[in-house]
Amino acid sequence: MNRWKRIKKAFLNDKGAIVSISFLILLAVISLIAPILPLNPNKTDILHLLEAPSVNHWFGTDEVGRDYLARIIYGGRISLVVGILAMVMSTVIGVSVGMVSGFFGGIVDSVLMRIVDVIQSIPWLILVTVVGIFMKKGLLSIIVVIGFFSWMEIARLVRAEVKSLKERDYIQYASFAGIGALKVICRHLIPAVMPTIIVAASSGIANAIMTESALSFLGIGIQEPLSSWGKLLQTAQSNLQNAVYMAIIPGFLIVLTIFAFNKIGNLLRIYLEPRVSEDLA
């Protein structure tokens, strides 16, 4: 409990962290209430194409006259959904693999870690696109592809931690006392590696959002009629000369979002990592 109090204090003392959290909350709220806002991301208006930001259109209009604020809010929804779901997926896979590998050791461990080696030796962009071509294009496949290929780092971390936890007396005692593996994992190991999981999840969202926007920007991610910040930037590229705000605004939001998640992840890392405790000699 003491630890969480310290984290709370650390967050309140760090201006960057306060800004990050407020920004993410604001983003989440806007994304949630978007459908009830008087904004239509799909209504075209050929009389007002590529108009710079004004009172009527706070963020201007795009190349077919759609309100860019609405496009950005709805695009942000997709970016966040992809980020969060892909993170959940990679965390679940990573934790399971790392847990099994670290807990059972032996052949299971060697095989799983070999698989991690293989997958990690393929550059992510190549890997994601290769698998992408075997799936129907769509939101779900983007999530699955990103989630499915970013779990290796978490798996390694969890495995290493479980391996060292296993040597601790209380875990050895539990096994010795005949408590089943599943129970030991759920009761003792998962709570113990929770800090690692939380930290990894926080930067996992940031990475997933970055990956999605890069793929969408290259035209191999989110497809029409859906849109995301990365996808908006792709469109912005062809209108760069006339409407630079179309590139600046979504890019800026990506930067803020990723920075905020990374910031939170880093602060949590400092206060959750077990070895960083007072070293009073």
Binding site: R6, K9, E278, L280, A281
Partner: protein, 332 residues
């Protein structure tokens, strides 16, 4: 004793650590002196502040530590006020320190010879050649066989005991007036421990090097120390000559500590008595006696106050709220 020169003279040293704006006093009002020609041992359990106290001499404490003292003299110089370059000229030259873990104390990617030569040339104007031959001489002096060959080797090619010898050689290069040895044998095998202690004792005699030995091991103390200061919970509990402490201990903590070492007394086996309880947290004992919670004689006064001084001789002092004379007579 008072007629002798004091090499190190510390009065009311306080060291506090600050973290999250919480202040923790780690060393409280300790007074120490090292006389010319002696080996002083500071004895205490881990966490007693003995190492911190000596690191404050060497300027080795982390930035969040604050050091203050009423008097802090090294060879008559106000040591806490000396900073920067001036201080660096004294460190490693007039005072040297060796550490507990010789395995990590040397730079793994630097040759042993370069360690020594670099250190020699830092404090002495000397050509590389001269420094090299001095380094070889020093390695020989601390008992490292075929030193010319060893100079070109890396630390990982040395055993723990050999590395500790290298560090002692490094310290020896500038013939320091004071050597602080922080648990120099704790990380070593028992047989090697004895060799290193013998070496230290030998250097103390031949090189006129004064030594402060920090240790938790009373056996180590018994073999080489002249005087002993017993520390607990950031305070000094009792000081005296070796014999006064080992055979005529007055303070309840010292007595408990002596009972807790394995050994034989007058040929018959003694019963080993552990001290009940564990070392308390530093922040739990601001003003009272740190041994309060584990002491069988603790009274009300011990909780809020520390240290009525009892003098037994010129050299033998202890700090306890109890009337120790009465207490010890009753116990005897």
């Amino acid at each position: 004793m008072s007629g002798l020169t004091k090499i190190l003279d510390i009065e009311n040293l306080n060291v506090s650590f600050y973290s999250d704006s919480v202040k923790t006093k780690v060393v409280k009002d300790i007074s120490l002196e090292v006389y010319d020609g002696e080996i002083l041992a500071i004895v205490g359990e881990s966490g007693s502040g003995k190492s911190v106290a000596m690191k404050s001499v060497m300027d080795l404490l982390p930035v969040y530590a604050k050091v203050s003292a009423d008097r802090f003299l090294f060879e008559g110089k106000k040591f806490l006020e000396i900073k920067g370059k001036e201080k660096r000229q004294i460190l490693g030259n007039d005072i040297a320190m060796i550490f507990q873990d010789p395995m990590t104390a040397l730079n793994p990617v630097k040759k042993i010879g370069d360690h020594l030569i670099e250190n020699i040339r830092r404090h002495n104007k000397m050509s590389k050649k001269q420094a090299e031959s001095l380094a070889i001489e020093m390695l020989e002096r601390v008992g490292i066989p075929s030193p010319e060959k060893r100079m070109k080797q890396y630390p990982h090619e040395f055993s723990g005991g050999m590395r500790q010898r290298v560090l002692i050689a490094m310290a020896l290069c500038s013939r320091p007036r004071l050597l602080i040895a922080d648990e120099p044998t704790t990380a070593l095998d028992v047989t090697i421990q004895a060799q290193i202690l013998k070496l230290l004792k030998n250097l103390h005699e031949t090189e006129k090097m004064n030594i402060v030995l920090i240790t938790h091991d009373l056996g180590v103390v018994a073999s080489i120390a002249d005087r002993i200061a017993v520390m607990y919970g950031g305070r000094i509990m009792e000081t005296g000559t070796k014999d006064e402490i080992l055979y005529n201990a007055q303070h309840p903590y010292t007595k408990a500590l002596l009972k807790a070492i394995p050994g034989t007394e007058n040929g018959k086996k003694c019963k080993l008595e552990p001290i009940p309880g564990s070392v308390p947290q530093m922040k739990d004992m601001e003003s009272g006696c740190p041994f309060y919670s584990r002491c069988e004689h603790a009274g009300e006064a011990c909780l809020c106050e520390f240290g009525a001084t009892h003098d037994y001789s010129d050299t033998h002092k202890s700090y306890c709220m109890n009337d120790l004379k009465q207490l010890n007579e009753r116990g005897a």
